[in-house]
Amino acid sequence: MAHDGINYTSVDENSSVEQHLLNDFQHNFPLSPTPYADMGKQLGISEEQVLQILQAKKAAGVISRVGAVFAPNKVGASTLAAMAVSETELEQVAEQVSSFDSINHNYQREHEYNLWFVITAASKEILAEEIKKIESRTGYEILNLPMLEDYHIDLGFDIKWT
């Protein structure tokens, strides 16, 4: 049942359904026993189709997961870290950094500080230990930039399809 009266189920509209599925449920995900069936009802497709699309998008890497985005530093502790690594060592150091389970994002950026990563741990104490371990493993000092204040309310990401 598409409550807005639009029938999304014709073959030509498949991509539109996928777009709605990715765009409309970045927050307010149903906290009902059958969330995927409820999403399907809103889009006019079956639970099975919702699950198939989500599985395919996950396999393709378009979505990283369906679930919770935790508030930084409310659950556990995290920080943004930067290193100024010599170009010749960058690949190797990046690999060493990524090998830690506590690292979830790790990017090379255009700056003297050229390696940027997020470290997450269960507590501040474990986070401090992890920073020391990464410094000792790589031989580079970490610029430690924990979040002090959040001015952005996360409503997900409004995808502009082109």
């Binding site: 059958t34 679930g67 919770a68 935790f70 556990g76 990046a94 930039l145 409503l155 990401f157």
Partner: protein, 179 residues
């Protein structure tokens, strides 16, 4: 429309909320995402010895307490065609942050807006915004728009475009349960 919502103040980092062992187990179980099955909360509950309703109520409580910012589909920008992103860092006078940061955080192309500590002399910047775009030009145009809209013409800043992504996945707040 570029503005997605009225600025509604900020969220100061609070010390971590104290969590019970049961809370920690639930977080460990859901941090990697909900299972893509008909009754995901029941599946999680079975692993933890909780009922489906208990799992749902606990997640609802995490949302109310602000531990969970949102529940839903978490997309990856790069795979959606947003191939350019810049972390734009700003040196804003401390007394002006409270006025300027909410202006910057309200644009839909700004994905993050955090205050972080300076480390003088090597690091002068205290406000961090993440700007995504389909390409570099779009990011730069968005940045220009942001500067005009928030009156940041005289604010020292740098755009740190990403060159290579070595790793991207959800954060692990608790050790992963061995399955």
């Amino acid at each position: 429309m570029k503005v997605r919502k009225p600025a509604s103040g900020s969220e100061t980092v609070s010390s971590s909320v104290s969590l019970s062992e049961a809370d920690k187990k639930l977080i460990a179980e859901i941090q990697g995402g909900l299972p893509l099955v008909s009754r995901p909360y029941e599946v999680i509950g079975k692993k933890l010895g909780l009922s489906e309703q208990q799992v749902i109520q606990q997640i609802q409580l995490f949302l109310e307490k602000g531990l969970i910012k949102r529940m839903g589909v978490v997309v990856r920008h790069h795979e959606l065609g947003y191939r350019a992103n810049a972390m734009v860092v700003w040196d804003i006078a401390d007394e002006k942050v409270a006025e300027l940061a909410p202006c910057m955080g309200k644009f839909e192309f700004v994905n993050l807006c955090y205050r972080r500590p300076r480390h003088l002399p090597q690091w002068r910047y205290n406000l961090f915004t993440m700007i995504h775009g389909h390409d570099r030009d779009e990011v730069m145009n968005n940045l220009k728009f942001l500067i005009e809209q928030c009156g940041l013409e005289d604010t020292v800043h740098e755009a740190l475009f990403s060159i290579k992504r070595f790793k991207q996945r959800g954060a692990l707040y608790q050790p992963q349960p061995t399955s």
